[in-house]
Symmetry: D2
Subunit: 123 residues, 4 copies
């Protein structure tokens, strides 16, 4: 089966670059939120998140930063916390045909919300 | 803050309708996969999935079907199973400006994959 | 196969009542944390959580309360938030043989931690 | 606050070793099921799972094996799959006072179920 022809001929390369990056960003948030984490383990978690998301269609690269300061504040008596949306800063780079897009998630204080948006897109 | 102006002026209404639906589809899959389910509980799970996803930006409606036949096959000795990607058939309806999009997830046997795609979009 | 004989003959009914309730409490937290929720949807989410967890072995009942006050504070500009450990108050009731146990999760401010413990157990 | 005295004086060390291991096993399953994985990424996922679970109370060590053969069968056209309960073989080692317990999860074909049980416990 030609998946692209069968299922994606109704949208442009630009639209699909946005589509695939958005799926992976939603996936990342809802898969990993809640994971136990502290400063000693955040690097291995960042790596696993990056590696797993890069498997998805059209994903070229993933940059994940678990915010250090927020992590410190959130630590419980047991010296770890659950990964939370306000700790995450993520860039997902997609490529479809000649179009490259960067999908971003960052916590916006003013909105009290981990906003996902298209940070950059070039045809 | 004018979120639309600040963060979304670089993409069209059509692109944003795709973007927001794709985020929610990725979210749905990775939030709810693994949930214990059987025929007695699938309706309340479908409702909770629908209600929670409808809260996200630009989501007009969500249709979730947990596939009965596949559920039957998957049942364990304990008369339930974990929600799996091959049981889900989902439509997410988005609206941004005058653009309406339908994002679909369905399990495609030939691909052995729960494919997400833009089923319909109209400006 | 006699599962009880094969896999659980090395622990007492009391220990198994604790074991099964603890599994379900860990499951609940890590399955549903991150789910979009607000006051309009929290009831359907509470019901789905309760119904899904009651399917697991030895679980007699589940009481889930999503804490209203904390939900209010957490609301984003988009009028919903992600379900968080500090919003949850849960009791899971298990029964194995003649032993009944209540496993509890509640957020303890002093610990900054959603503590899980055996609230009650009677042989 | 003396958490042990306040919340755990009603159960024995043996019971608590079982309790804490069971929570972490339920947590592991419901946190990571659904994660995209293939042979190239399974090691980093195993490491992240191990590191995150080891943060939880009373957890001494965690051994996670993502079953290679099952992974091969499950691969989609896109060369990855979602982590599934039937691929996981996990041992969680707990210690409370002088009691050491091993909590195990393995997929039992005959039950069509990823069974969690107390594999070993010694006072």
């Amino acid at each position: 089966m030609d998946v692209d022809k069968e299922y994606f001929s109704n949208i442009s390369s630009r639209e699909r670059a946005i589509f695939e990056g958005a799926i992976s960003m939603g996936a990342l948030f809802h898969q990993f939120i809640g994971t136990p984490v502290n400063n000693n383990t955040k690097e291995s978690l960042e790596i696993a998140i990056k590696n797993s998301l890069k498997l998805q269609p059209a994903i070229e690269d993933v940059e994940v930063k678990i915010n250090f300061e927020r992590l410190e504040e959130a630590l419980s008596e047991f010296d770890y916390t659950s990964l939370n949306g306000d700790m995450l800063d993520v860039k997902i780079y997609t490529k479809v045909g000649n179009v490259k897009a960067t999908i971003r998630m960052e916590f916006i204080e003013e909105l009290n919300y981990p906003l996902m948006y298209v940070e950059d897109i070039e045809d």
